[in-house]
Assembly symmetry: C3
């Protein structure tokens, strides 16, 4: 699974940034930014690890708390410079969900050996952080927008698992899964 | 607990169908139907198993993923034929919550031996899937509707535990609990 | 951690009462009061215990179910006498979040030994019950109100952990953390 670890950091950090942007849209204070960044960044992976019955990743490795809190602080100072915070939120969310879906599927596959559980884990992991962010911030959840969202997550997880099943090396499976998920979601955002 | 296993499949499948109907009301694509079906179908039981510290049921037995995903696909093709999708959603939800509450209480009782924890598990299990469905779909949660909802779940769990405590056989306890919960909820839906 | 145990009961009982007040505002029946009281009272601590991978506190010690259900019943009979149920909800919530944040941080610190994880646990524990309550009741989450909420929780957790790190006795650390969190939140409620 080591080939996927960069995807994990990307997914966690960018989900955190999208959470901080939601805090910005709600005019919260800096601790609110950090809180929503951390919850959005680590939420999906926390549920994944609880279900897989493995130690929760950010309790094991506290770098994740630093990365997500740091993303919250960084967005606090840069958000006022952005022209459209919601467009940024959606694009950060798009990269993050692609990364997170692939990493979640990889972790689920490594631990259970079941392709079906792996895909479910990828979808859950990819979608759950965004759901938490939107529910806490009181926005309609991003899943309810018309652009393809859950499907992109599902596709990324399926491509990753299929690539692993036919024996492609980890980094290749990671790149293919990521490209599939992000490509579909980006297309939907750009032309949807 | 084997006497309750059919209740579990009924509860999971019908909650899944109600989740897919929520996806239909939101005009999601087929993957959205499957996602909301799976989350609604397995959500309550997942929380139950995490709290009871037993392996999550659908990671152990993947049939549940097939059943819930299948319910999502089936609803995708039949929902356009329904006259009132929300009425169907409420009735499917009513059968599902009765089944789920009784099975949740039975599992909680079997594992902890505590009637109070068993009733809490039944209520949690019966209500949580519907809460997840409504929150993700951005609808007011079904608990907030005036018809008796939480009370029906509680009654089903209490009847099941009481029947087990006085030594009735499992299938009898299951039928009594189910009939109590569904009877009350159905009465409320029909005349409420 | 024994020095903190009273804080835990205070936090759990008052969060439960705030949940019951939310049920009252929604004109639910008495079982609805009990359900929302129990979920709000034990919600944050349940997530804390799952993440820390320790037995969920109310499965171990059922007094908590009795306390929270009792709070629900008590509010059912007294809520009609209150002039402003939402003001009461906010003040109960303020005491509860201070108590819960400090106890959550203490438990996180005792189990993981990491100050950072301890603070995250305190914040999560303090905020999560209120989030659950508001989401189920269909209200905007209390975090989104302008008065300092997450910051008060964070401050209480930080003060408790800092006091423990410099070797102050448990009860002193508990009182300092509680006073910091409640003081800030109360000031915000009174003058915000």
């Amino acid at each position: 699974m080591s080939g996927f670890v960069y995807l994990d950091f990307i997914g966690v950090a960018l989900f955190a940034a999208s959470g901080a942007l939601a805090a910005s849209r709600k005019q919260m204070d800096i601790v609110g930014f950090i809180f929503l960044a951390v919850v959005t960044g680590v939420g999906g992976g926390t549920v994944r690890d609880l279900i897989l019955d493995v130690p929760v990743f950010w309790v094991e490795m506290q770098t994740y708390l630093l990365v997500t809190a740091g993303a919250g602080v960084a967005v606090y100072f840069t958000a006022p410079l952005l022209e459209s915070r919601y467009a940024w939120l959606l694009w950060l969310d798009a990269v993050a969900l692609a990364a997170y879906a692939v990493f979640g599927a990889a972790k689920g596959f490594a631990i259970t050996g079941s392709p079906m559980v792996a895909v479910a884990m990828g979808m859950l992991t990819g979608c759950f952080g965004g759901i938490l962010r939107d529910v806490i911030a009181g926005e309609p959840t991003v899943l309810m927008r018309r652009e393809i969202y859950v499907s992109a997550t599902a596709l990324g997880a399926v491509v990753m698992v299929a690539a692993a099943l036919i024996g492609l090396p980890d980094p290749v499976a990671a790149v293919l899964g990521f490209a599939a998920a992000f490509g579909v979601r980006a297309g939907a955002l750009a032309y949807g």
